[in-house]
Symmetry: C2
Subunit: 473 residues, 2 copies
Amino acid sequence: MKARLEKFFNAKTFCVVGASTTPNKPGNVVAYNFVNFFPGKTYLVNPKGGELYNNKLYKSVLEIDDSIDAACIIVPARYAPLALQECGKKGIKNIIVTTGGFSEIGDEGIKLQQQMLDIMKEFEITVIGPNCLGLYSPALGYDTMFLPDSKLKRPTNGPVSIFTQSGAFGAAFIDQLSRLGSGKWVSKFISYGNASDINETDSLEYVGQDPDTKMIIIYLEDFKNGREFMQKAREISLKKPIMGIKANRTETGAKAGASHTAALSANDVIVDDLLNDAGIIRVITWDQLEDCVLVFGTQPLPLGNNVAIVTDGGGAGVMASDMVSDCGLTLAKFSAEVQKKLDDTFPSFYSTGNPIDITGSATAEDYRIALESVYDDPNVDSIVNICIPVIPDLDIEEYIKITKELAKRKEKPFVTALVGGEEADYATAELLKDDLPAFESPGRAVRALGMLTEYTKYLQKHSVDPKSIKMED
Amino acid sequence: MKARLEKFFNAKTFCVVGASTTPNKPGNVVAYNFVNFFPGKTYLVNPKGGELYNNKLYKSVLEIDDSIDAACIIVPARYAPLALQECGKKGIKNIIVTTGGFSEIGDEGIKLQQQMLDIMKEFEITVIGPNCLGLYSPALGYDTMFLPDSKLKRPTNGPVSIFTQSGAFGAAFIDQLSRLGSGKWVSKFISYGNASDINETDSLEYVGQDPDTKMIIIYLEDFKNGREFMQKAREISLKKPIMGIKANRTETGAKAGASHTAALSANDVIVDDLLNDAGIIRVITWDQLEDCVLVFGTQPLPLGNNVAIVTDGGGAGVMASDMVSDCGLTLAKFSAEVQKKLDDTFPSFYSTGNPIDITGSATAEDYRIALESVYDDPNVDSIVNICIPVIPDLDIEEYIKITKELAKRKEKPFVTALVGGEEADYATAELLKDDLPAFESPGRAVRALGMLTEYTKYLQKHSVDPKSIKMED
């Protein structure tokens, strides 16, 4: 069976109901997006008629002399039922309602949303929303995000699909990804708001079977149908990583959520177990999600638990090792050959155990020797490359070059932590430009590796080879 | 009794033993620092003689015809005992040995360090180091950090004193603070390396009684004398906040530490209890330390546990509320007056509970009303100001202005989280320029408040008024 969202994304004809001639108004932005980027045929509707972006403004959908595959309704909430009914009469079966002012605002809105539900049933319409951003796919030129590009920057085509219960979360995260590295991150984005029809399970089903989606990021506050969702997740997580935030973890969060999308907080320990069992990697804070994109989106999965750390600062090595332990990882024991090479090459005051501490005397060449040695060591599954660039003999450009080469080999996950001020920031920016994972602290770098390795362990537990998971075709 | 470090910082005459004419070599950098910034008299020693920075290079300390209050020895490890002995003969009682290659490198180094100890005893010398960065105080023009300013940027004078077991940690953190906001952060910096003499307890004692130190940041891997340290900490933490990292939390970390400063990992649960009992706020990751500086260094302590959250995104409000709960904080119940004002002013689809969700329709004026109302509410002890700037009607300049005004009132702690891409980064940078606490995620902002509140609770438990703790005189 095809996922219900497929008919939205596969639309060849699309109609914007509520296209506005006022610049930067939601109905204006969405009209602009479709007229300019949608490869199919776009129809615009506004009861006043006229023209917009060289396209005719139809006074009603019923005037359009073509069959419409999907539509977006962007009219004030009180007019939405009528607009939906007209679309129903026109035979449009797939409709995004971005407008807010429904169940999320209380009694009056709940009544309005019920009217919508009745119409949906009558005309057999599938609805995304209301109270949402709708859909975005840069590759498909599909964009109902009603915030102008000057406000909400769009990331371009890439391996990550996202679905979210909170539109604001979605907007912020999309904006965030637009300035992360090359900005080439997003395959499909789905914001389903009040989930009057399409919900988290539909979204998961669609991105799960979408061949262009290589990893899935989710933001949820509650489940419309938790059992079904977990079941689908169990299947899909064996084929592509799923990670995200399940908020409403606490009573306090749940109280906040109640006035937001009428979500109910489940017992969080149970939720945690269920997510775990379904292979969903749960993160707690927003920053961790960006870290997920950086490691899952750019590095291969490790084949095991053994981490090598290279550092020019002992303290940073200790902190990284503490985090290795926190994340259930282990410090690799180097092979005899690699150990001998390190011992023979480095001066006696370098520490050649794991972490390898090449101290404040480190040069870029020392980094090359240490990092390449452990990268090529069969006993090492993943590498943490820590640099405090203040040391005197380090050529930072050379260090960046070496780091880039290794991070691009993609035979093992390779993460970098750059700690300090301006020079650390500069090197971080240089690595991110090439979409390579660079972090501001050793702890954050190790935690990112920890998430990758957690997924490897899940796959191995289910007899799936982690090598089968790839971000590129 | 005066702290032993006082004689170092109060020196009127200072000698650099191992002043080098080779640019950017440690002995060259330290000579440069003292010749240019130290208000007292600087003497330089190099067995070759000659001149450096228009100062005579004495061939031996014994040639100097003045009494020397303190000195820094920067010669290769094997020459260090001899240099120390000559200083002893000269009657110099306070000596920093920055050179590495002692107990941290194993047997040979342990022997060398023992030689040093014997000489220290013989001549009654107090030693900082070896294997350290030594001391830095911008206000006193005191700087033995042997990395050139082009590599290691220096923060300028401010309320924070730092002491650290790891020199590399210290260097990275100093570099980090140089680019945090105005860079006006540091009062005293102490890196004591192998702690052959001066250790964590001496350091704490000194910064504890130093009137220019308003908050204390520490990095430790082990304790030379844990009991004495905790006892001092208990006294000092009632007068100024102490916070920091105690690494070596895990067996893995301890193994890494063993090859670094020969530290032993204690049972971490006990350490945690002891730190807690002594009023030391423990953080785990490097990034949290910067957050500490931002909140403790710029905001007053809250007088209680009640947090108000203002947000334009429901999801962000839920995540912040979850973190409020994680940190043992509570969401404030607004006073009847404030609640009425919010209800009367805002449209019905805004959520006027706590969190206040002014939604994607928010304007800067809405932020002003919401934030000022809760700031002035006696039921509110601290405020979290969350903004996702992608929303259409928000004037970001106006929002920044309002935020600055409130964060500068300093009657209650006020933290801001800006989430998104370029515009969020821009607003964050604008706030940081004025040394106001701005964070990349709601979770991080709330956690920072959590640390502040933890300290308030500690003070109140010990019958100390949190209002007595001030960053400015």
